[in-house]
């Protein structure tokens, strides 16, 4: 878009045939056709006041605040009435006069503003929005100073809860319908709608269906007044007392841009930032509200070392803790020490992951490192090494939006990658994109994407993906994208099949992990066969290249152990030490085995934010900083680095980078320590090793195996984690937890019938390890499959059943046998 001034010579306008030239306030401007006048005016620096307009919502023209005069509609004739510039598209030769040059427009806007204020309570001094309120601001810029209104204002009881998290003050509402349009159009959760009419019109909820949406917080942010507030932030702060820092959400691999507002060392709220490339202006409620986990009472405030005498963890100084860890790790890493294993979890920044990757190789002399704190496979590691590691920006959000067809496998976007969900929904709504899902059933999120489910029992994904190549209905081609989630790791041959499908159809392939640090960990080489930037351990020249960069004679050449193998070795007494960073045993494939390993391993170092099952058993505990207390980079699923700065300072915890450097420096046999101490230094060094044009890993070639065949009374278990579940990063936010989806066992109608139960009755999933009882829910799921959430409503599926997706379970009616207290949303476990 080019702006030229009316009188000037006229800058050369790029010749585009979709440009329309019009004049706004005597300034000539060329904009793409279909542009709305309100947006064209922004380009010449004129801000037309507005309430209902929002660039990401369909126009409604309801508030009438944005009226402009149109002396020439482009046909030589004036438009008789002032026009709403938010619904008026540009036309060639159109002449527009805004409040800046038209007394008519100015008067019209002042008139509307006066009407809006007539029934507004003007309780700005006690309103959350005061100080950042479009009504306040625009009343100042485009309103009259004095009110002519003498009568009594309309009143409503205030506020009313429209969900556990969101409260509505109907007196403040200007009825712009932004919230209702957001819910309907963007989130697909139309649980709020305008009801009643005239001056009694108001935002309403369905009495029996509360505003349960993973995205409800966005309505608070886009509400142009203080009508919507959050239970968590209400009355807590004034905007002008807050310090804002741009940041990146740490809850998933979507890389959503956020803004963190803090006051006196305490985060008060988080907002979505505007990043058109990534999350546009939306974030999930988890990204918005889940930040209190970092200030729970169980924060570790000092380095701790286990006292050999008492067996208790004792607070100590950083140098003492470093020394204790260094000594023990040196011994374990040395001859006959048994070796060390490093588990890094998926939540680290790329700088931190890089530090662990280098620490393992250079300091501990091992390739025993794995970021995967979930089910994993060698095929997956091979896939990541060959197609993800060091590959940089791949499929992007913009690509997703443009794709004609998207196939999802092992991924439920709404639960596991909420920003992706929103972008897909946009593409479905606006571009008619078709979404197909290799999944056991149509989840709520898939339904909102109008997705066609290709019904697949867990374990059958490889076969389903192979069959897709010949599916004329899906017709995947180079205009399509295949998105594979980390859950595919549980099915042998699935990654191989996905690669084959992409190769055959020309569709682009994207890997979508669940955690913010996963992709960065792959890039940093936190895998037993992988070094930073896609170098492989088995490639001598890659090792030599990296050794040179790191200034060490050589790197260990033996491929390391993966997570399962490390834990197995530790449990078998074959490992000298474990270094564990933010891994929760409950997430691991075999929680009981993991607990045994942690108990057995001679020396356990834990880097943790808060006390955990690992710190309980650790010999040295090093308090590390949560994202808000450090800077770093998350690499989102696209491969886009998302750098963020430290928000809060003055904490007692250190970034993992600094902790590892401290241990390395305490090791007497190392002259140079880790080679860096700060996040910035680690980032700079990573940038140096990022370039690698040597050989990459080969693609995996694993044959599909037939999934388990359920016998009589048996079902194949399917499971994943819900967005809002019992995860520890949601701790301390009761209002957010109040919007969690109920935990249920999803079964086919035929199964319910066979079990003699109806929806809502308790059913029990059972294995030899144990059982779980939850209410039943009907789904379009194969008769042989039962789905349950992995980690919700008190249920720990993996711990309780010792089973995961693709394993066999039995299902029975719990009947009267279900334990009291396990009814309703509360799950029980035996």
């Amino acid at each position: 878009m080019t702006v030229t001034s009316a009188g000037g010579a006229g800058t050369e306008v790029e010749k585009r045939d979709d440009l329309v030239t019009l004049t706004i306030d005597d300034v000539e401007i060329s904009v793409p056709k279909e542009t709305l006048v309100i947006r064209a005016a922004e380009l010449i620096g004129v801000q037309i006041p507005r309430f209902c307009d929002h660039p990401l919502l369909d126009p409604v023209g309801a508030c009438r605040q944005c009226l402009v005069e149109v002396p020439d509609a482009g046909n030589g004739r004036p438009m008789p009435k002032p026009q709403a510039s938010c619904t008026l598209t540009v036309a060639p030769g159109m002449v527009v006069r805004t409040q800046a040059s038209s007394p008519v427009a100015d008067k019209a806007q002042q008139g509307i503003m006066e009407f809006l204020l007539v029934n507004h309570p003007l309780d700005c001094p006690v309103c959350d929005k005061g100080g950042e309120c479009p009504l306040q601001n625009q009343a100042m810029s485009n309103g009259r100073g004095e009110s002519r209104f003498l009568e009594t204002k309309r009143t409503f009881a205030k506020p009313i809860n429209i969900s556990a998290q969101v409260l509505l003050d109907r007196e403040r509402c200007v009825l712009c319908a932004r919230c209702t349009r957001f819910s309907d159009q963007i989130a697909g959760d139309p649980f709020i709608a305008m009801i009643d009419r005239g001056a009694l019109q108001q935002v309403g909820v369905y009495e029996h269906q509360p505003f349960e949406s993973y995205f409800s917080g966005n309505t608070i942010q886009i509400c142009p007044v203080g009508a919507l507030t959050s239970a968590g932030y209400r009355f807590r702060a004034r905007p002008f007392d807050l310090v804002s820092t741009p940041s990146v959400a740490e809850h998933d691999a979507c890389g959503a841009a956020i803004r963190v507002d803090h006051r006196r060392g305490r985060v008060m709220r988080r907002l979505s930032a505007d990043d058109p490339e990534v999350n546009e202006e939306w974030i999930s409620d988890k990204d918005r509200f889940a930040f209190t986990y970092a200030r729970q009472d169980d924060r570790i405030t000092h380095p701790l070392v286990r006292d050999p005498g008492t067996g208790e963890l004792q607070p100590t100084s950083w140098p003492a803790a470093f020394a204790a860890a260094a000594t023990a790790l040196t011994r374990a890493a040395g001859q006959d020490g048994g070796g060390v294993g490093v588990l890094t979890g998926g939540r680290l920044t790329r700088e931190d992951s890089y530090a662990y990757s280098k620490f393992a190789r250079v300091v501990l002399g091992t390739n025993n490192i794995d970021f995967r704190a979930r089910r994993h496979s060698a095929e997956e590691a091979q896939f990541l090494a060959s197609h993800v590691a060091g590959s940089g920006l791949g499929v992007t959000y913009a690509d997703l939006e443009r794709a004609r067809t998207v196939v999802l496998a092992g991924l439920d976007p709404e639960e596991e990658a909420a920003t992706i969900f929103l972008r897909l929904r946009k593409a479905v709504r606006k571009n008619g994109q078709r979404v197909f899902a290799v999944a056991s059933h149509t989840s709520r999120g898939l339904a909102k994407l109008s997705a066609t489910v290709l019904p697949t029992a867990p374990g059958g994904e490889a076969a389903a993906l192979s069959a897709l190549g010949d599916d004329g209905e899906v017709a995947l081609d180079s205009g399509g994208i295949l998105m594979v989630g980390e859950r595919l790791a549980t099915t042998p041959g699935a990654y191989t099949a996905a690669l084959a499908l992409a190769a055959r159809t020309g569709a682009r392939l994207a890997w979508v992990p669940r955690r913010a640090g996963d992709r960065g960990a792959v890039d940093a080489g936190c895998l037993p066969g992988l070094l930073p930037a896609g170098r492989t351990v088995s490639d001598a020249s890659a090792r030599a290249d990296l050794a040179a960069a790191w200034g060490v004679p050589a790197l260990p050449s033996t491929p390391g152990l993966d997570t399962d193998a490390m834990l197995g070795a530790a449990a078998a007494g074959q490992l000298g030490a474990l270094v564990v960073a933010g891994v929760d045993p409950v997430d691991l494939p075999d929680p009981a085995g993991a607990r045994a390993a942690l108990a057995k391993v001679p020396f356990l170092v834990s880097m943790e934010i808060r006390a955990s099952e690992v710190t309980e058993r650790a010999d040295v505990v090093l308090p590390v900083a949560p994202a808000v207390e450090k800077s770093g980079t998350f690499v989102d699923w696209e491969g886009r680095p998302r750098v963020f700065e430290q928000v809060l300072s003055g904490g007692h915890a250190l970034p993992d980078v600094r902790v590892l450097a401290g241990i390395a420096e305490a090791m007497t046999h190392l002259s140079r320590g880790l080679g860096f101490r700060t996040v910035e230094q680690a980032r700079a060094e990573f940038a140096e090793v990022w370039f690698w044009d040597g050989a990459r890993a080969h693609a995996p070639a694993v044959d599909a195996v037939e999934g388990p065949i359920p016998g009589t009374g048996e079902f194949v278990l399917d499971t994943w984690k819900l967005l809002i579940d019992d995860g520890r990063m949601l701790d301390g936010e009761p209002y957010l937890l109040g919007t969690a989806r109920p935990a249920t066992v999803r079964l086919s109608a035929a199964t319910l019938h066979r079990l003699g139960v109806v929806e809502g009755d308790q059913v029990t999933l059972r294995t030899q390890v144990g059982s779980v009882t939850l209410p039943a829910e009907t789904a379009d799921i194969p008769d042989s499959v039962a789905w349950a959430p992995e980690h919700s409503a008190g249920v720990r599926l993996r711990s309780s059943l010792g089973a995961g997706a693709g394993d066999l379970v039995t299902v029975s009616a719990a009947g009267g046998a279900s334990a009291p207290g396990s009814a309703g949303r509360q799950g029980g476990q035996a």
Partner: protein
Amino acid sequence: MIVDPLTPVLSETWDAERSWTLETYTDAGGYRGLEKALTMAPDDVIAAVKDSGLRGRGGAGFPTGMKWGFIPQDDEGAGAKPHYLVVNADESEPGTCKDIPLMMAAPHTLVEGVIISSYAIRASTAFIYVRGEVLHVLRRLQRAVQEAYLAGHLGADIHGSGYSLDVIVHAGAGAYICGEETALLDSLEGRRGQPRLRPPFPAVAGLYASPTVINNVESIASVPMILERGPDWFSAMGTEKSKGFTLYSLSGHVERPGQYEAPLGITLRQLLDLAGGVRAGHRLKFWTPGGSSTPILTDEHLDVPLDYEGISAAGSMLGTKALQIFDETTSVVRTTLRWVEFYKHESCGKCTPCREGSWWMVQVLRRLEAGQGTAEDIDLLLDMSANMAGRSFCALADGTSACVDSAIEYFRDEFVAGMTTPAWELFPYAASALHAPADTVGASR
């Protein structure tokens, strides 16, 4: 000698015994227009209606044939979607009372019109959206539709023509805004009735996002006669740009209120003569030419031709030709307040000026009615009105402004008096009651 200017066409059979039955209608020559239409090409039917000069009777006076011509007829894009005819039978404008009597007395006139019009625009489904409160009319209409089905006028392959049509009579839930055509469509689709953003226009994306013609009951009911007797017969009546006959509804302080069917261009003076004049012993004070949304006129305007051009030259609008007659006992302040109360009650709430403006105006007018107005109130009302008219989302608020502006224009004194004297003292309300004895006095409300 007074030549009777009435032209009973639509109302021809209203006084017949059991006028609403198919039998009565057919005996009077009904369904001959349909017979003729089915022998014509649909485009020729559209041309006939265009040639007749028929203009929409729902208020805006848009040429009906031209509206039909906007329906895309190609086999691709919007044209390929089903076409719909929707009849606007929501009639809720204060004073307007023509569609409901028509459907009550001669529902087949409408049904026949629906069939011909649907045939012309190639619709195979038509809807009649009837204001919900008029249950008796709904029953008549439903029965008429049933009779038409039984007689083979509706359903599959109508009279062997190959043309098929289904008609659905739909009851609204009683909201004035649902007479606004796009709000009507939302309501018909099962949503809350609020006007839609245009474009897209209903002709391209109306009901269920498909090409849709929306016409008033009277417009559609006028079609059979145009077909039967020819466009020239129709256009011979009326004035240059306002062709044909129409139903004028007289109500209020008039001796014989009711529907008077006459060529467009007749004057109120003529109509009052036919209706026995203003209530005995009283004289005309002000009147609405087309319902409360059209600016009021006074006894200066008795000889203005009641056609689109004539009334608009007089500063008002022909609207629905609902002539509400008010005599000298009536308080303009009170009348305006009642109207604005109606608009406040019926505002859908979507847009700010209408929602808040009518709400505020009522409070100011109440003050003036009670004789407690302030010196600023008249200017305030006029300014609010200016901030509403042409600034709102749909035309409902224009109606609110129109009655306020015109009332102040012609009767400013009464508003000035509202600063000191209650309206019920200046115009004892009982005196306005239709059957009040001519000598009623007193200050009762």
